[in-house]
């Protein structure tokens, strides 16, 4: 009840209680009228859309399911007119598509790596799962080492591996060998480490006032490297499987995951460098980014295969897969750098000022305030880059590594399965696999984006 007077005055005497909203447009017809046919243009568009669906979907289903062949042991099964997808072909080649030429008896190692990967990754992806720090350590530090040892078999001759060549004082240390562990190498390693720590201290002292932090960081880095080398030097009794034998989905995932994990910090560093006040640092970063962004990945991999050995000291001949990994990582890093730069530009100056006013140092400010926000902002673009990366892994075929698609192409050459539909079947299957991974990434990013969005009220 309320009082209303002639002159427009009004006083409410009784407060209204909230009511539930009225239900309108109930039922399918109401919904359709509102969403599909609210105007003539809309109706036309709706019908066009439906026509498109009718045009594409039925033939696809016919090929993939209705007319498809499901059993058989060679090409004979999939011959004949009007035959759809030849699934026995995929069944026969399935193991190869997953493991490549990885020795059949050792495939449990790959399975174990896959399994551990999933076990560690899932809790990392579930945002509400606790122990993120431990989990990250396990996934980003322990897992790669373990996976490396499992997949290659470990027992890598450290002094002949990459590390053998960066010893600064090799001449002094000589090359004395004592039962298994090369004394000369370790002597060399320790001396190099000591020298680097000293240099870091000096530079840190000069540049940042205190060299202790820099020295400690360098020492840690060397300790980690040493531990890694030692670990790789140990013989676990696993058969050595060289990377040429890897293949299929295994290689695709190795390249994609390594690319994703390593390009991220690199890209962030490059983005910060590009926004730096220091002209030389900025220029170097700009050149790096624009170069990698401007050339096709295919030529980068070409470069890695044919030209890289020319630029390295004689005898240093990095593994083909390693070259591809480095190429992919640098390439993606350049893209990530541009994306992150966009994010950094979007952070209002007030956030920097707020952080500075609280007395945070530059690195604390970046780590705690700016980057978390900037990265959240650009998640969609980052995921775009990762999706591109995942699909671009196919290009490693150029360096004679059979990734998933390469393995599929090799399977096409088997005369036992040469049929008119083999190619389409293979591509349909590969398409589905790629789609599952990329779609997964795209949806997950959407989920994270929504979850991390704290800007909305209520």
């Amino acid at each position: 009840m309320s009082l209303t007077f002639d002159d427009g005055t009004f006083i409410r005497t009784e407060m209204q209680t909230p009511l539930p909203p009225p239900r309108r447009n109930v039922g399918a017809i109401g919904w359709m009228r509102e969403n599909l046919f609210s105007s003539i243009t809309n109706s036309v568009l709706t019908l066009l859309g439906l026509a498109l669906v009718v045009w594409i979907v039925p033939p696809l289903i016919r090929f993939l399911l209705v007319d498809a062949v499901w059993t058989g042991s060679n090409r004979e099964a999939c011959l004949g007119p009007e035959v759809g997808a030849c699934w026995p072909f995929i069944k026969a080649k399935f193991a190869q598509l997953i493991y490549g030429f990885y020795p059949a008896g050792e495939r449990w190692r790959v399975d174990l790596v896959f399994f551990l990967g999933v076990v560690l990754l899932v809790p990392l992806l579930v945002l509400s799962w606790p122990h993120k720090r431990l989990n990250s350590f396990l996934f980003f530090v322990a897992y790669p080492i373990l996976a490396f040892i499992l997949l290659t078999g470990g027992n890598i001759d450290a002094s002949n591996f990459l590390f053998g060549h960066f010893g600064l004082i090799r001449a002094v240390a000589g090359d004395a060998g004592v039962a298994g562990v090369r004394l000369g190498f370790w002597l060399d390693f320790l001396l190099t480490a000591a020298l680097c720590v000293a240099v870091a201290y000096a530079i840190g002292r000069l540049a940042a006032g205190s060299g202790r932090g820099a020295a400690r960081m360098t020492a840690y880095a060397f300790a980690g490297l040493g531990l890694l080398t030692l670990l790789w030097d140990i013989d676990f009794g696993l058969e050595r499987v060289e990377t040429r034998q890897w293949g299929g989905l295994l290689v695709t995932l190795v390249i994609a995951v390594t690319g994703i994990v390593t390009s991220m910090p690199l890209g962030i560093a490059l983005a910060l460098g590009r926004r730096s006040q220091m002209p030389i640092v900025r220029l170097l970063c700009v050149i790096f980014i624009e170069f990698w962004r401007g050339v096709p990945l295919i030529t980068v991999l070409f470069f890695a295969t044919y030209m890289l050995p020319l630029f390295l000291p004689v005898g240093v001949n990095p593994d083909g897969l390693l070259r591809a990994l480095v190429g992919v990582a640098l390439f993606t890093a350049a893209y990530i750098a541009e994306v992150v730069r966009g994010g950094l530009q979007a952070i209002p100056k007030g956030q920097y000022e707020g952080a500075m006013a609280m007395g945070l140092t530059w690195s604390q400010m970046m780590r705690l305030i700016i980057l978390p926000q900037a990265l959240t902002l650009v998640i969609p673009s980052i995921v775009n880059s990762f999706i591109s990366l995942f699909k671009d892994t196919t290009l490693v075929l150029i360096v004679s590594i059979f990734d998933f698609l390469g393995q599929l192409r090799a399977a096409f050459t088997d005369p036992n399965w040469a049929t008119p539909v083999t190619l389409y079947t293979g591509f349909a299957f590969a398409g589905i696999v790629y789609f599952i991974f990329c779609f997964g990434m795209s949806r997950y990013s959407l989920f994270v984006e929504r979850r991390l969005n704290t800007s909305h009220r209520h």
Binding site: R75, A92, K93, A95, Q96, Y99, G100, F101, A104, R244, T305, Y306, N317, L397, I398, S400, F402, G406, R409, A410, A411, F412, T413, D414, P415, N416, A418, T419, P420, T422, L423
Partner: protein, 315 residues
């Protein structure tokens, strides 16, 4: 020496194609199969008496020679055409010819063309490779004919485009034509034209500088050809050991010590034939009429049967 290195290592590293039907392609279990692959197995059988002691490195056309030069592989058995420039300037030695090939054309029957010389104005689908494009260009130019060439990265797409009618003819090596034909919707609607527009003697290659290894690889092939010529097969090898024919005896090592001259055991041919077979068996198994490829022996028949396969005698 290479032989010692190989023995120390315990296996032979063999460079093969990344996928060429009948010559090297992975089968359902992931084992490499094919003529080129089997040849490497034969070498392994000769050296180790174990045809499985060989590892395969799939190589692209571009990095095959580098791999051999750098010592990554011991033998390159990858449908490589023997030419003078390769033999002389790359530091390589061709050890023989495992397959005499040549570039040919396939065309739809309903185009009613019987000779490649009637192809003027045609669209030609081919695969970008080492010499195919150039051969086509040379052929059409030499015969004063017009053409349009569409070069694909892989044979798979090229043959699909041909099948879809994009081109009038598809060209590649004859062995390849046989393989790709299987992927056509109606293989019987197409014929291979009689002309062969190039010579492609394909054979294994080793690098310069180790004559013993060169001899071994060379003679493994010769031994296989000789075995076929003498009728020694993997099935009758045990009986043949008892043969009285002096040629057979020399071949299977029951007379003379020719194997030791190579640095191998005297049983070397027995091992090859037992574990891999003679040349004819190897051919039939991988590309012969009973395989999907259905390639007749043709020029690859023994010289005694009108072909070109001819091996110096073991004596």
């Amino acid at each position: 020496a290479k032989l010692d290195q190989v023995k120390a290592k315990g296996f032979i590293q063999c460079g093969v194609s990344q996928g060429l039907p009948g010559f090297s392609s992975p089968d359902d279990k992931g084992n490499w199969t094919g003529l080129d692959v089997d040849f490497c197995r034969a070498v392994a059988a000769a050296v180790f008496n174990d045809a499985t002691k060989v590892k395969f490195t799939p190589l692209s056309a571009k990095d095959r020679f580098t791999a051999l030069q750098s010592g990554d592989i011991d033998i390159l058995s990858r449908n490589t055409t023997w030419t003078i420039s390769r033999d002389t300037s790359l530091g390589l030695n061709f050890t023989g010819v495992t397959y005499y090939d040549g570039q040919g054309f396939i065309i739809r029957k309903d185009k009613k063309v019987n000779s490649a010389l009637e192809l003027s104005g045609a669209s030609v689908c081919t695969q970008t490779g080492t010499t195919t494009e150039q051969n086509v260009a040379d052929f059409f130019r030499a015969n004063n004919m017009q053409y349009e060439v569409i070069a694909f990265a892989t044979a798979d797409e090229a043959v699909k485009a041909y099948d879809a009618g994009r081109c009038d003819v598809f060209t590649t090596d004859r062995s390849g034509l046989a393989a790709e034909r299987l992927k056509l919707t109606n293989p019987d609607d197409h014929i291979v034209l009689p002309e062969i527009i190039s010579k492609e003697p394909l054979g294994p290659v080793v690098s310069h500088g180790d004559d013993q290894w060169f001899d071994i690889v060379k003679w493994v092939l010769f031994a296989q050809v000789n075995a076929e010529e003498l009728g020694v097969t993997s099935k009758n090898i045990d009986e043949m050991l008892k043969s009285a024919n002096p040629e057979v005896k020399r071949l299977v090592g029951t007379e003379g010590k020719f194997g030791e001259g190579l640095g191998l055991g005297n049983e070397w041919v027995v091992q090859i034939v037992k574990l891999v077979g003679n040349y004819g068996e190897m051919y039939d198994r991988n590309v012969g009429p009973d395989t999907p490829l259905k390639l007749a022996r043709g020029t690859n028949a023994l010289w005694t049967k009108g072909g070109l396969q001819y091996a110096p005698p073991i004596r």
